[in-house]
């Protein structure tokens, strides 16, 4: 009987090893996607804050560069496809989520810069596809959690979903927080603007500086706080 037990466990070992190896590969891929997406976000920030005479051209350039950067992430997603076919997707969803959410944040930011609108669920799923179809199914919670990193602009819409999506309420409070900071910045600019009667160019500078500073501080705080404790 011992031999048969050992044979069976050898099969189990193969099964467990295969799962563990795949999990490791996906964690690594997800981390690479996170890095690329963070770079894309910073890239967008930099371009949007540049001085330009033609704002529309600047915005388009930002969107194109952002997309270009994100296409590197798409290449990674394409390699993940065979690892996530069929029932495997949900088996490893937790490993895929962190990078995917960062990607959705970057993508939605690029979309917002270009179109001034919130990217839709279907548009994100379309971005996560190539000529062979979707790389893997997009979950509603990844979509919402990715977006909730973007802005407080859609806060009230999000509140409808909070009871249904794990972690969304946690992220929501961060979003509320960043919204308050932006409001405070806008207020400071308004007050100082009126006080010193600044010329328009200087006021623009002040706005640019204030929003840049706040959005960057905010990112840092979030990475040190929520994201890390979550990982």
């Amino acid at each position: 009987m011992l031999n048969s037990v050992l044979n069976v466990f050898e099969q189990f070992r193969e099964d467990l090893d295969e799962g563990n190896d795949r999990r490791e590969r996906l964690i690594k891929a997800s981390r690479d996607v996170t890095n690329i997406s963070k770079k894309a976000i910073f890239l967008l920030h930099r371009i949007v804050l540049e001085d330009a005479t033609d704002d529309r051209a600047l915005v388009l350039r930002a969107a194109v560069s952002g997309r270009e950067k994100l296409s590197e992430a798409n290449a990674i997603f394409a390699t993940m496809r065979p690892e996530l076919v069929g029932d495997r997707f949900w088996r490893y969803q937790r490993q895929v989520s962190p990078g995917l959410q960062e990607y959705i944040e970057a993508l939605s930011f690029a979309h917002y810069v270009e179109h001034d609108t919130l990217i839709s669920y279907q548009q994100v799923q379309d971005a996560l596809s190539d000529s062979d179809g979707p790389f893997f199914p997009l979950t509603v919670s990844d979509y919402l959690l990715g977006l909730s990193d973007l802005t407080g602009g859609c806060k009230s819409d999000f509140e409808r979903f909070t009871p249904h999506v794990r972690d969304l309420s946690k992220k929501q409070s961060v979003t509320a927080n960043s919204l308050e900071k932006i409001e405070a910045a806008a207020y400071a600019v308004a007050v100082r603007g009126s006080e010193y009667d600044l010329p328009q160019e200087m006021l623009d500078d002040l706005v640019a500086q204030a929003t840049a500073r706040f959005s960057i501080t905010d990112r840092h705080e979030r990475e040190g706080g929520y994201i890390e404790s979550h990982v």
Partner: protein, 223 residues
């Protein structure tokens, strides 16, 4: 957010809530059944071998009725979503495997295989992407069985069944050597595997006690 997109997302989320609630209902029933089974099997420690078949027979109908549960759960899981929901019932599932494994050992002295465990629980091959018995859960069930057998080894001696610890020792050693072949990560299976060593030691001590007092023939104890 676009109102139509909002509606779509809401519908998707509500569908998920529906699935989750249906599973919850079934898991509640599953837990009830499993508790009854565990209650019955708790009596093995005070049941003499002559009455054991009868006790084990009383487990079967409850265990087999778990097939209704697995069928109902498999029915509500959308295609490819097994792993999304399985955490909801994996504890009950592990306990069911434990019960089936323990019955199998006490009846036939043999190790319940994974395919046989699936069969007893009515899990069908064609459900694969919606409902299956993963290796991890099966192994958790086996570890619980060994935990229980280490206690049974002691109580069997109390009941005068001196050869039982020797049989258990051989059986558990085989399972243990099987586990040593696995590359376990630092997870719950790993921690529970560590508990097997203590079980093994406890059983060996019982074997030592009965052979020292010549309650079993030495040749048998050496097996």
């Amino acid at each position: 957010m676009d109102p139509q997109d909002l509606e779509t997302l809401n519908a998707l989320l509500e569908h998920d809530v529906g699935v989750s609630e249906k599973i919850k209902e079934q898991v509640k029933e599953f837990d009830k059944k499993v508790r009854i089974i565990v209650g019955i099997l708790g009596k093995i420690h005070s049941t003499p071998s002559t009455l054991m078949p009868e006790l084990l027979d009383s487990v079967d109908p409850v265990l087999l009725s778990c097939q209704d549960i697995t069928t109902s759960i498999a029915d509500v899981i959308p295609p490819d979503q097994f792993w999304r929901w399985k955490d909801m019932w994996s504890n009950s599932m592990r306990t069911a495997v434990y019960a089936a494994g323990l019955s199998e050992y006490l009846r036939n002295g043999s190790l319940l295989s994974l395919p046989r465990a699936s069969e007893i629980l009515g899990i069908k091959e064609e459900w694969k992407d919606r409902f299956s018995l993963p290796v991890e859960d099966y192994l958790h069930g086996l570890i619980s069985m060994v935990n229980e057998l280490s206690r049974y080894a002691i109580n069997a001696v109390t009941l005068g069944q001196y050869e039982e610890p020797v049989r258990i020792s051989k059986f558990v050693k085989e399972i243990f050597s099987g586990f040593t072949m696995l590359n376990l990560k630092n997870d719950s299976l790993r921690r529970r595997f560590d508990s097997l060593k203590y079980d093994l030691k406890k059983i060996e001590e019982v074997v030592y006690d009965v052979s020292l007092r010549k309650l079993v023939p030495p040749a048998q104890a050496m097996q």
